[in-house]
């Protein structure tokens, strides 16, 4: 396995506030990597820097061996990095189908005039895009609502659509920002299965932000923990869950002392 994504000493300061401070990590090809941490720990800022939405103050991001620091979001996306958003950012007024077609279009070579005049290339690409998008809608069971505006879907469907939309980019790396937010435990379990299945089917690498510790523990091969912008721990779920620093961040100082004393005060992988 080789590192698909490598982050070197990434930092971001907003005004005087260090939102992310000197974070390094590397994600191997094919793994599901978890990024956890309490609210305000800098996880989303970290994602934004990976995807070109926020310019890092310092540090470097390498994707498949090439530097992507400072690229614009669409450039990063076109290199094969797709993401979802914590608060779901679908193209709410457009149809479900169009939501999935739009990322797929980024590979098309025909331009405006080809599109307008209906050149053979444009027609072929339009067909291919639509077919590929349809396949993805099948995967997430949304074909029956393909022509409805995305904003009218119920919450769970919107989450799934957003993942389908990210997959339409045919990414090599999929970044999921709190995909289980607002789901009940049974839905969460279903989502974990879905992520595993997607990774297999599309030969993906997944980097996942999650608040829900048990889900991360069950799903990820490795985990990094952020707190106040710093990486306080990294390793397998087992290594991380009893790390005193992690326990303190999540459960408080008392529990940390207990953990340090080996009294089994770990983050539970089930709740």
């Amino acid at each position: 396995m080789s590192a698909l994504l490598e982050v070197r000493s990434l930092s971001k300061a907003f005004g005087g506030l260090l939102a992310v401070s000197d974070v390094s990590l590397s994600v191997e090809q094919g793994e599901i990597f978890g990024l956890i941490g309490p609210n305000g720990a800098g996880k989303t800022t970290f994602f934004n820097m990976l995807t070109g939405m926020t310019r890092p103050t310092s540090g470097e991001v390498l994707f498949a061996g090439g530097a992507i620091t400072g690229l614009r979001p669409e450039q990063v996306a076109r290199l094969g990095v797709a993401r979802t958003f914590q608060n779901i950012r679908l193209f709410a007024g457009l149809s479900v189908f169009d939501n999935v077609r739009i990322p797929r279009q980024s590979r098309e070579r025909s331009g405006l005039w080809g599109n307008i005049l209906g050149s053979p290339l444009a027609s072929r690409e339009e067909r291919e895009t639509s077919e590929a998008a349809w396949e993805l809608l099948k995967l997430v069971n949304l074909t029956d609502r393909a022509m409805r505006p995305a904003g009218s879907l119920p919450y769970g469907d919107r989450r799934r659509l957003e993942i389908a939309r990210a997959l339409a980019l045919a990414p090599r790396l999929l970044l999921l920002d709190e995909p289980a937010a607002g789901m009940n435990p049974s839905e969460k379990a279903g989502l974990a299965d879905f992520i595993r299945q997607v990774r297999e089917t599309f030969d993906l690498t997944v980097l996942l932000i999650e608040h829900n510790v048990p889900m991360v523990m069950g799903l990820c091969s490795r985990i990094a923990v952020l707190n106040f912008g710093e990486r306080i721990a990294m390793g397998t779920p087992e290594e991380v869950q009893c790390d005193p620093k992690v326990v303190e961040a999540y459960l408080g100082a008392q529990k940390r002392d207990a953990a340090a004393a080996g009294e089994g005060a770990c983050l539970h992988s089930t709740m």
């Binding site: 996306a77 993401r83 950012r89 679908l90 193209f91 709410a92 077609r101 739009i102 307008i116």
Partner: protein
């Protein structure tokens, strides 16, 4: 029917012409950009045609090319508009919403002052006696009609193509569009340039139509009127600019019997239209269908 066209023929052409200006704002709006720059490009295009049509420096061209001079004027207006639109659009489109609108207003105001100071543009009185393409004003339907038809066809095709979906993705959520590989800046500039180029050509067609061109063509009021066409017509419908222009251009004429109080009523209709047709005239039809 002949009497109707004698009386309202000019008005009908005005509706087509103004609708085209409405479309020139529709494209940037399709990509979520509220621009009022069109009127500036309209003014610019008009000057290009007026200067090429009257300035002694182009005498030889006119003599050689004959009627071909007219499409050449369109082309010149188009090219100049595209170049200037890219130059203005690249920096200005970093702004959003009302800020972009204000920046484009500023651009139009500055352009107006600059034009007023350019000797070639004829100062305050502007340029007049622009060679006519047709005897009758109504015959200008052969300019504006096909252009409007092409524009609507273009819009139809655009909405159903990848290019149009890219625009709409930027409109719906620029950040997400970028994350999904849509070249946001390029698409915004493209939408802006299409609009500006259209406005430039409409200007070039309008200079002979009005027979005169001056700095009063590119005022803020005229620019806002174009926006009103789109919004009152329905900003999410390809028919919006046409419907809006039809209503708002015809209204003062329909109200003519009211004499000098007609603009009061015109204002009332604007307000009522906003309140009772928040999705525009096109929205009424859509609502009925649903």
């Amino acid at each position: 029917m002949a009497a109707f066209f004698d009386l309202y023929g000019f008005l009908c052409i005005m509706i087509l012409q103004q609708a085209l200006l409405g479309y020139s704002l529709y494209f940037p709006l399709m990509a979520g950009q509220l621009s009022l720059a069109s009127i500036g490009f309209y003014s610019l295009g008009g000057y290009v045609a007026a200067i090429m049509g009257t300035h002694p420096a182009f005498e030889a061209w006119r003599a050689t090319l004959g009627w071909l001079m007219i499409p050449l004027e369109w082309l010149a207006a188009l090219l100049l508009s595209v170049v200037l639109a890219v130059a203005v659009g690249l920096p200005a489109l970093r702004l959003r919403g009302i800020y972009l609108a204000l920046a484009t207003i500023a651009f139009v105001q500055v352009l107006n002052v600059v034009v007023l100071n350019m000797p070639i543009a004829g100062g305050a009185v502007g340029i007049f006696g622009i060679p006519q393409a047709f005897e009758s004003r109504f015959a200008y339907i052969w300019f504006f009609g096909p252009l409007l038809l092409l524009t609507i066809l273009f819009t139809l095709r655009l909405e159903r193509s990848a290019a149009g979906r890219n625009f709409m993705a930027v409109r719906e959520d620029e950040l997400a569009a970028g994350a999904m590989g849509v070249r946001t800046t390029a698409n915004k500039v493209l939408a802006f340039v299409i609009g500006c180029a259209l406005a430039g050509v409409v200007g070039a067609m309008s200079a002979p139509f009005l027979n005169t061109w001056n700095a009063r063509q590119g005022t803020f009021d005229a620019g806002v009127a174009c926006l009103a066409y789109v919004l009152i017509g329905g900003s999410r419908s390809k028919w919006g600019p046409l419907l809006g222009a039809a209503l708002l251009v015809a209204l003062p004429e329909v109200l003519r019997p009211l004499k000098d109080s007609r603009l009061i009523l015109n204002g009332m209709v604007l307000v009522l239209a906003c309140v009772y047709m928040p999705r525009g005239i096109a929205g009424l039809f859509a609502g009925r269908r649903a």
